[in-house]
């Protein structure tokens, strides 16, 4: 084994040739996919299976699926990796982070890739449910491709409903019916509550999302869809929503304090709560673990049926170029195709963003067997974009911290919303000053 300088050089040249021409199939383009685990551990394995299938079908590309924690941690890791000069080729990003990433120039528009496929942006987005565009198309450019999406939904324990004389086929449609049902379903032994009428998660991320849902149902707007520097926390529609939520606590049909996602679904599954407001993303897990007949229904309205979308989109960070960018695009299109979209939807409970998925026979059969999944899809007709602003996470936490204060009885809803608005405005101030308040001659 004598390695001469010449053979080394030759080897390097050969390697370079292969690197230049991945079409030969000798050296596949290696890309990474950053993904948070949306529901439970099984899905981390499902994701590995999905990517393995992709790699087998695409010898010129080798994708490594990289588990990156929660949605918030995925954002931190993607940003840190970019700063370190190692951006992943594709990242599954919470749909409401896209606006902030776009403002900071951290994700790239996909328009040229769409155009190269011979489509217009409208044609491309036309394959997805219209409600998803608001969080994916920013300033007329496509920045994200919807991968798995959700809406909040009301889960009902039909057994408990029958037990107290309510009709599970006729679930609460408005806030009055919801409050009345919750009161009826709550069970007490003396002062101690043994069964809560309803459970609502209020932890970070979910709390803000569900308050937005109630505000939407109350005719509110929550944030300015067209401008990233405005939120409407201190408004009558929001005040009504928050007061309704806090009244459920006051009337002792909802457990006081901040409730975690996992604790809420556990309480519901174990029969300690008769209804819960939660993401459709939990649907498959809840369905397969419920030991009672399960019903789901639209989020009850006060003034109108309207909910925000949730879930995540596939994005390509800035700095991903050339072959890696092309490979990323191939992966994105494959993952959001009707077949894969539908498969992932059945595995998780998220609805499939690609409308074509619902035309496939296996999906039709699935919906016939699981009518609850159909409710989630039907509610989409009433869905609007998810809260997204400049610095989405802190602006969201501003209202979630105040929500926590209200639910633990430390503040009145009005006080809380005034404080939340003030905090949010303060966070968005630098952006507002650089945009809406940057006027000619005002320097």
């Amino acid at each position: 084994m004598t390695t001469t300088r010449r053979s080394l050089l030759a080897g390097a040249a050969l390697a370079a040739t292969f690197a230049m021409t991945p079409a030969f199939g000798q050296s596949p383009t290696e890309i990474e996919l950053f993904f948070p685990v949306p529901v439970d551990g099984q899905l981390a394995r499902d994701m590995a299976t999905l990517i393995k299938e992709f790699n087998e079908g695409h010898p010129a590309i080798k994708v490594t699926p990289v588990y990156t924690g929660s949605y918030d941690e995925t954002l931190i890791k993607t940003r840190a990796a970019m700063k370190a000069g190692k951006p992943p080729a594709v990242s599954i990003m919470s749909a409401n982070f896209l606006r902030d990433l776009q403002i900071e120039g951290e994700i790239q528009p996909l328009d040229t890739l769409i155009k190269a496929d011979g489509k217009s942006n409208d044609q491309f987005m036309g394959q997805f449910f219209p409600a998803l565009s608001g969080n994916a198309v920013l300033d007329r450019s496509v920045y994200g491709v919807p991968f798995h999406n959700s809406t909040p939904i009301l889960y009902i324990n039909a057994e408990h409903f029958k037990e107290v004389g309510l009709d599970p086929e006729n679930p609460p449609k408005n806030w009055a019916e919801l409050a009345a049902a919750a009161a009826k379903l709550t069970k007490r032994e003396g002062d101690r509550v043994t069964r809560w009428g309803i459970a609502i998660p209020s932890q970070y991320d979910t709390g803000g999302w569900l308050l937005q849902a109630l505000t939407y149902s109350n005719g509110g707007r929550w944030f300015n869809v067209d401008y990233a520097g405005e939120v409407y926390y201190d408004e009558p529609s929001t005040l009504g929503a928050l007061t309704f939520w806090s009244d459920l606590v006051k009337n002792k049909v909802l457990q006081p304090g901040v409730q975690q996602n996992g604790a809420v679904s556990t309480a519901f599954l174990s029969g300690q709560a008769s209804m819960m407001l939660h993401s459709t993303g939990s649907l498959t897990f809840v369905r397969s673990n419920a030991k009672f007949p399960l019903k789901v229904a639209f989020v009850p309205k006060n003034l109108q049926n309207q909910v925000p979308i949730g879930g995540a989109s596939l994005v390509v960070p800035t700095g991903v170029e050339g072959e890696r960018r092309k490979a990323a695009w191939t992966l994105i299109n494959w993952m959001t195709s009707p077949e894969k979209s539908g498969w992932w939807s059945r595995a998780t409970g998220y609805f499939a963003p690609n409308m074509q998925a619902y035309e496939l026979p296996e999906m039709k059969a699935f919906l016939d067997k699981n009518p609850d999944a159909k409710v989630a899809v039907d509610q989409l007709a009433y869905a609007r974009p998810w809260f997204a602003t400049y610095k989405t996470v802190p602006v969201r936490k501003a209202v979630e911290d105040e929500l926590a204060n209200v639910l633990s009885g430390k503040k009145s809803p009005k006080e809380a919303l005034v404080a939340a608005q003030k905090a949010a405005d303060e966070i968005m101030k630098p952006y507002v000053e650089q945009t809406a308040l940057k006027l000619p001659g005002s320097n």
Binding site: V39, T64, V66, I76, R79, P88, T266, N289, G311
Partner: protein, 277 residues
């Protein structure tokens, strides 16, 4: 260490200790009970007293969800690799700060200590940039590198070395011992309690670390236990199977608990014996 001669009756003190111990033990007890519960979500999940026939189903499921042997190996390499390098660096730095006179010694030492004030989260991006430029991104060495020097450990060793009488070192010096021999044969054996205390703190903190390895590691093969465990405990939008989580957590924490139980005697003995010397 003279609490006994206070006014509180020993019984009361004993009771208080038991209470604190119970508070500390309840989550562990619950984890144990939940891990063997055949039902993962039922009404009995919250019970502290088992009311079921123990089942290993949760362990089987948790074991299948992640490649625990490999993750365990990675975690062990990270924790003990860091510790091995730290032993060298904190001993040498501790000796320098304790015994070698050089201009600006106190200033350097306090500068070193300010590292303790920095929240690790604030260092994620700068550290990652450094790691990437060294070519250590997505490697176990990259996870370990930022911890090779430890302000806390250096402080601990400096204090321990300063407490050792200079005369011992001077006697060795007269016998012709080199600086390396003096550290190895005089200082280190006498500072053993500090080394062990530091080892426990260092190993447990790196064993449990989550965010930094999550940032550095991309390859599934290089994941440590915490990241592997998180794949099924940190679902972003969903429900949680407590039994499986409890079983997984037990699998992850078992090696450390076991090591502590096995070496508890050695730990205590070493404290006692070195203390007497």
């Amino acid at each position: 260490m003279s609490v006994a001669n206070r006014e509180i009756s020993p019984k009361l003190g004993y009771g208080a200790t038991l209470l604190v111990a119970a508070l500390w033990a309840v989550p562990f007890l619950w984890m144990l009970v939940a891990a063997f519960n055949p039902e993962s979500t039922g009404a009995g999940m919250a019970a502290l007293i088992p009311d079921y026939v123990p089942s290993l189903a949760n362990f089987a499921e948790a074991w299948g969800l992640a490649d625990f042997p490999r993750y365990g190996l990675n975690t062990a390499i990270i924790s003990f690799g860091i510790l091995a390098v730290q032993f060298v660096t904190i001993t040498l730095a501790g000796y320098a700060f304790a015994r070698i006179d050089f201009p600006g010694r106190s200033f350097c030492f306090y500068l070193f200590l300010t590292q303790l004030m920095l929240a690790p989260v604030a260092l994620i991006v700068p550290n990652l940039v450094t790691i990437a430029s060294l070519g250590l991104y997505d490697s176990l060495l990259g996870v370990m590198a930022p911890y090779f020097a430890s302000a806390f450990g250096t402080f601990l060793m400096r204090q321990a070395f300063r407490a050792i009488p200079r005369e011992l070192e001077e006697a060795a010096l007269i016998d012709g011992a080199s600086i390396g021999q003096r550290i190895r044969l005089i200082y280190l054996p006498l500072a053993k309690p500090s080394l062990i205390a530091f080892a426990i703190v260092s190993v447990t903190s790196h064993w449990n670390e989550f965010l930094w390895p999550l940032m550095v590691i991309n390859s599934p093969d290089l994941r440590p236990l915490t990241v592997g465990l998180a794949t099924f405990t940190r679902g972003a939008e969903g429900a949680q199977a407590w039994g499986v989580i409890a079983a997984g957590t037990l699998i992850v924490s078992a090696p450390l608990i076991l090591a502590f139980v096995l070496f508890q005697r050695a730990f205590v003995n070493s404290f006692v014996s070195s203390g007497i010397k």
